[in-house]
Symmetry: C2
Subunit: 263 residues, 2 copies
Amino acid sequence: MNLVCGIEYDGTDYHGFQRQAESQGETVQGAIETAIARISGVFSVVHGAGRTDAGVHASGQVIHFHSDALLSSTVWQRALNALLPKSIAVRWTCEAPERFHARFSAISRSYRYTIWNEYAPSPLHARYSYHRPLALDVERMQEACQLLLGRKDFGAFGRSPDETNPNKPGPHHCVRTMLDARCIRDETQTGIIYCDFTADAFLTGMVRRMVGTLLLVGQHRLSLDEFATIVQRAEKTHPGSAAPPHGLCLVRVEYPEQFGVVQ
Amino acid sequence: MNLVCGIEYDGTDYHGFQRQAESQGETVQGAIETAIARISGVFSVVHGAGRTDAGVHASGQVIHFHSDALLSSTVWQRALNALLPKSIAVRWTCEAPERFHARFSAISRSYRYTIWNEYAPSPLHARYSYHRPLALDVERMQEACQLLLGRKDFGAFGRSPDETNPNKPGPHHCVRTMLDARCIRDETQTGIIYCDFTADAFLTGMVRRMVGTLLLVGQHRLSLDEFATIVQRAEKTHPGSAAPPHGLCLVRVEYPEQFGVVQ
């Protein structure tokens, strides 16, 4: 049985999604694998759609794992939620064909970066947003987002996750397709700005570096022309630093209809 | 100088707003008084509009304190935010006439109780909402809210804060005026239900007991007639238990215009 789960987590206390080769602290993947082994008595590898960094959250991560345990997907959900730490939950479950793979079958991932743009800090928003007290020209950030759309080399904002994988020798390319990119103010909550991105796949650190550079555009410290040049040159040295991880959340992963994965 | 501050806090790790007679853990009032004393060198008593219970949050608490320090309200805000723990912040400050009192000058308080009404738990909502996986008839809860409106004895849902005050011998009455009460689903976030209440003042534990009883109405375990009888009898023994504190937030305190307190 190939079980697919929608996973939500508060990444604050985790060293990212992916289990580490050596023990470098708890990971989301490790916590889910531990719970599965406690339920079925057998270790099953968990595959995630997005390998989120340390401190990054998810409301719509998707995982799959294979198990021979004779449990329905509903029982799996209830059992996992009973055993998982409070910071990780299974939001939905379904069975998928054997060939379904949470990472390789995915056609797009969507990330949301949340900015708290008021002078005073907000303790109730602090856990899931990045506090930027300076004035931000969100319309200009939105214009810059248009320059990110389409299929191009995003080397300016990250590196290929395969670069650090000894089993995947180069060349590693940084070409990805940005399907949607926008910066908007939340109309119902003063002070909240969202930067939303959907792409076929993302480079390591890509959203946080895009946001860091867009913030310079929003502060008028970088013109739209300069932003366009940074994107076009696709070089790793550029003025934008990466925005911190706690503002970032993996919100959605899309799959072809044929797999019947209903989120 | 009588300084008024709008205070936001994450109440998770505090033993309520009010400083305890004996040391029973950290309080919001105590943390603010400590920060003020570090800035001015003198202890000033902090008076809060609402004495929130342990674990209850606030986005719109209002406090005042008197100080002879020659600092502008803007400098006070910056200094306090630099010294306060990350879980407490000063959202705004202003000067008020000497006679202004955060508690006694207030004409109304507004509380919001947030319910997470999905089958699966949500780690990203868990800190600020109460997870109720059962189906809830929110329209019926909204109908019950109409029975709470107006000036009446709310003894069914709490006791007077003065009952435990040895300096305030009885009789203690439980008559309050409910100006607004409603239960609504958040139109932008599936699964979120808000119970919003505005009254001239609230009894200790009142909002949490009202919500606990309204949840029974929403589950059709209590009819509207039975709810009306509970309200009318104003007795302390009734079927609704108090909803837990972490779903509750003090969102707003109103003052007469004459004080010039701009929030």
